[in-house]
Symmetry: C2
Subunit: 224 residues, 2 copies
C-alpha cells in the first residue's frame, strides 16, 4: 500500500541490495560472494544463503560460483534506500546541526523507515537538495540518480587548482581528519607539489593555508 513494491523487504535485505549496488559501481557488473561478505561483515556462507533468497524474490540475478547483479527492480529498491539515507543525512546536518562525520551512522537506521509520504515530505521540507553532506548525489523519487562525473584529487597534476565536491569514504575517522586539515566541501584546492616517492601532496586551501595530504587521503577526495 505505502511501499510501491508488493513485498516488503527486511532491513537486512535492503542492506544487501545497497551493498551490491555500491560494489557494482566499483567492480563493474558481477559482484562476488566474498566481496559481499567483507562489506556486510558476515561470512561467505551467510551471503550464499541470502543470495538465494534475494534471487527467489527477483531482486538479483544470481549465478552460482559466478556472482550476482541487481535486477531492475533490485536496483530501483537499492536507489530508494540510498535516496532515504542521503535525505536523512541532509536533515541531520542542516536541521539538527550534526557534523558530517556523525550523520552516516544514524542515517543507516533512518534509511529503513517505510513511508513514501514521509520521504517526499522530507524532501520538500529540505528544499529538494541535490547532494548529501558528503557531496553524494541524491536519487529522485523514481530511483534515478544523475551520473556524476568527478576526478580524484590524487589524479590532479601539480600546479592545478580544483574545487572539492565530495568524498568517497564516509568513516568518522576520515572525515574528522579532513576537518582538522581544514578541508570541506566547496573549498578551493591548489596542488602545489607532488612528492614522487610516496605520492603525498602539498596543497593550498582557499589561498590561505598549506596542508600536507597523503596519497591515501587524496584518493578519497573528489574534485572538479
Amino acid at each position: 500500500m505505502t511501499s510501491g513494491s508488493l513485498k516488503m523487504q527486511t532491513f537486512t535485505e535492503e542492506n544487501y541490495l545497497k551493498t551490491i549496488f555500491f560494489l557494482s559501481i566499483d567492480t563493474d557488473v558481477w559482484v562476488s560472494t566474498n566481496a559481499l561478505a567483507e562489506s556486510t561483515n558476515t561470512r561467505a556462507a551467510s551471503v550464499s544463503d541470502m543470495l538465494k533468497r534475494l534471487s527467489e524474490k527477483g531482486l538479483i540475478n544470481y549465478q552460482k560460483y559466478r556472482g550476482v547483479r541487481l535486477t531492475d527492480e533490485g536496483e530501483r529498491l537499492a536507489l530508494l534506500v540510498i535516496r532515504k539515507h542521503r535525505l536523512w543525512e541532509v536533515f541531520l546536518a542542516e536541521k539538527l546541526q550534526f557534523g558530517w562525520d556523525e550523520v552516516h551512522v544514524i542515517a543507516e537506521e533512518l534509511e529503513h523507515i517505510r513511508s513514501e509520504r514521509l520521504v517526499e515530505k522530507l524532501d520538500a521540507f529540505l528544499g529538494y537538495p541535490q547532494f548529501d553532506p558528503h557531496g553524494d548525489p541524491i536519487p529522485d523519487a523514481d530511483g534515478q540518480m544523475p551520473a556524476f562525473r568527478y576526478r580524484k584529487l590524487s589524479e590532479i597534476n601539480e600546479g592545478n587548482t580544483v574545487i572539492m565536491t565530495g568524498v568517497s569514504e564516509h568513516s568518522s575517522a576520515f572525515l574528522q581528519h579532513l576537518d582538522k586539515s581544514g578541508l570541506m566541501l566547496g573549498c578551493q584546492v591548489k596542488v602545489q607539489e607532488i612528492n614522487r616517492f610516496d605520492k603525498s601532496i602539498n596543497v593550498l586551501i582557499d589561498n590561505r593555508q598549506t596542508v600536507f595530504i597523503s596519497h591515501e587521503v587524496a584518493k578519497n577526495l573528489l574534485v572538479k
Copy 2:
C-alpha cells in the same frame, strides 16, 4: 556507548516494554499475559516466552501465572521510547505537515532509532515541546513524565464549558472522525445537552457549530 543502558533492546523488546507500561496505567500494577497477547497481536504462548527473556534482563518482575510489572530500569526504557515516539510525532505534524491521524504509524518506526544525541537535538530543534499532537505529555530525557490530570468529556455535566486537551485513542479512523466534526486540540466545547438514553451529547464548538457526539467518542476526548 550511545545508549545509556549496557545491553541494547530489540525493537520487539522495546514494544513489549511500552505495551506493559500503558497497560499498567489502566489495569494498575499487574499486567496479565492475555492482555499483553491482545495488545501485541500475538499469542499468549509467545508472550510467556518473551516475558522470560525480559525478566532475565531485569526489565520486568515476572511471576508465573500472576502477571508482570516493569522494574525501574524497564520503566525508564519504556519512557524513553515513548519520549522518542512523541517527539517524532511533533516533528511529523509541525515540520512535515502530516495530519494528526497519520503521525502515529510512522512514529512507531521512528521511536526505535538509537541515538541519544539525535533525540536531544530533535527536542531542541522542535523547541522542547511539552505535548505531542494528540495532547499527550512528552517525558523528559531522564524518563520523567508530568502526571497529567484530565477529565473525559463524557464526565462533564450539561451546561459546562471545557477545553479539549487530548485524546485517548490514536487510530486514524477516530482522529479523522474528529476532523470531520470540527474537533481539534484547544477548541472550546460546551456541553449543551446530554441524551439520557444513550448518553450521546450535543456540544457547541468554539461558539460556532453544534455537533452530535456519541458516548463512545466522548469517552476518548480529554478535557480540562
